[in-house]
């Protein structure tokens, strides 16, 4: 079946602009995660959704970052007033109902470049 998809695959924007990154999880997966991977680093957790609600947003770096999942499926990560330091690959993962140790399936990521 279809895996996790993310759009766009690449996004180039200018400093100060607003961007939206989209994640389509595997159908039926209730848990959804966003991570950010900077060059040469391991991914870092941003936010976790269980259904429609953000169960853990402790990884969001500041209030310029916000994410929603209004119908418990597709999620959008929103970044306001982008800064050059926001440049990274943004990864989305979804997990089934097998509990917190169940496998997370990752999408291919969105590469964000802020000029």
């Amino acid at each position: 079946g279809a895996g996790v998809s993310q759009t766009p695959s690449n996004k180039v924007t200018e400093k100060g602009k607003y961007v939206e990154l989209r994640c389509d999880p595997i159908s039926g997966h209730t848990a959804l995660y966003w991570y950010r991977q900077s060059l040469g680093q391991g991914p870092e957790f941003l936010i976790y959704f269980q259904g429609t609600g953000a169960a853990d947003d402790s990884g969001l770096p500041n209030d310029r970052f916000f994410a929603v999942r209004p119908e418990g499926s597709v999620s959008t990560l929103k970044i306001q007033r982008t800064e050059r330091g926001d440049s990274a690959v943004y990864l989305c993962a979804s997990r089934g109902k097998g509990g917190s140790t169940d496998t997370q399936y990752f999408g291919p990521g969105t590469r964000l470049t802020v000029l």
């Binding site: 895996g3 996790v4 848990a31 995660y33 991570y35 040469g40 680093q41 391991g42 991914p43 870092e44 957790f45 976790y48 169960a55 853990d56 990884g59 990864l91 993962a93 997990r95 509990g99 917190s100 140790t101 169940d102 496998t103 997370q104 399936y105 990752f106 999408g107 291919p108 990521g109």
Partner: protein, 113 residues
């Protein structure tokens, strides 16, 4: 708090020789541990996971890892490297309540012909 430390940022082996990628963990809970692989321009793929069952875990593509509580280690091994194994490897621990993954810094595996 949980964390993982990957002891080598870069490992180079010859094709057909054994692979050892080292990982130590720190966890205040009984940990669940994973190894993920990331090939260039491709998504992260789960190699194997330990969730308090057998301490020797077998994964895909001939990889395995052994959970050693006394050494707080979860090293990844493969008896014979293949050129297609060249990639970035991440050791990961999970936070039990939320399942959020905490990644190590990664180890780049180079396989020479």
């Amino acid at each position: 708090a949980q964390s993982v430390t990957q002891l080598d940022s870069h490992v180079s082996v010859s094709e057909g020789t054994p692979v050892l990628l080292r990982c130590n963990y720190s966890s205040s809970y009984s940990p669940s541990l994973f190894w993920y692989v990331q090939h260039p321009n491709k998504g992260l793929q789960l190699l194997l996971k330990y969730t308090s069952a057998a301490t020797l875990v077998k994964g895909i593509n001939g990889f395995e890892a052994e959970f050693k509580k006394s050494e707080t280690s979860f090293h990844l091994t493969k008896p014979s490297a293949h050129m297609s194994d060249a990639a970035e490897y991440f050791c990961v621990v999970t936070r039990p309540n939320t399942g959020k993954l905490i990644f190590g810094q990664g180890t780049t595996l180079q396989v020479k012909p």
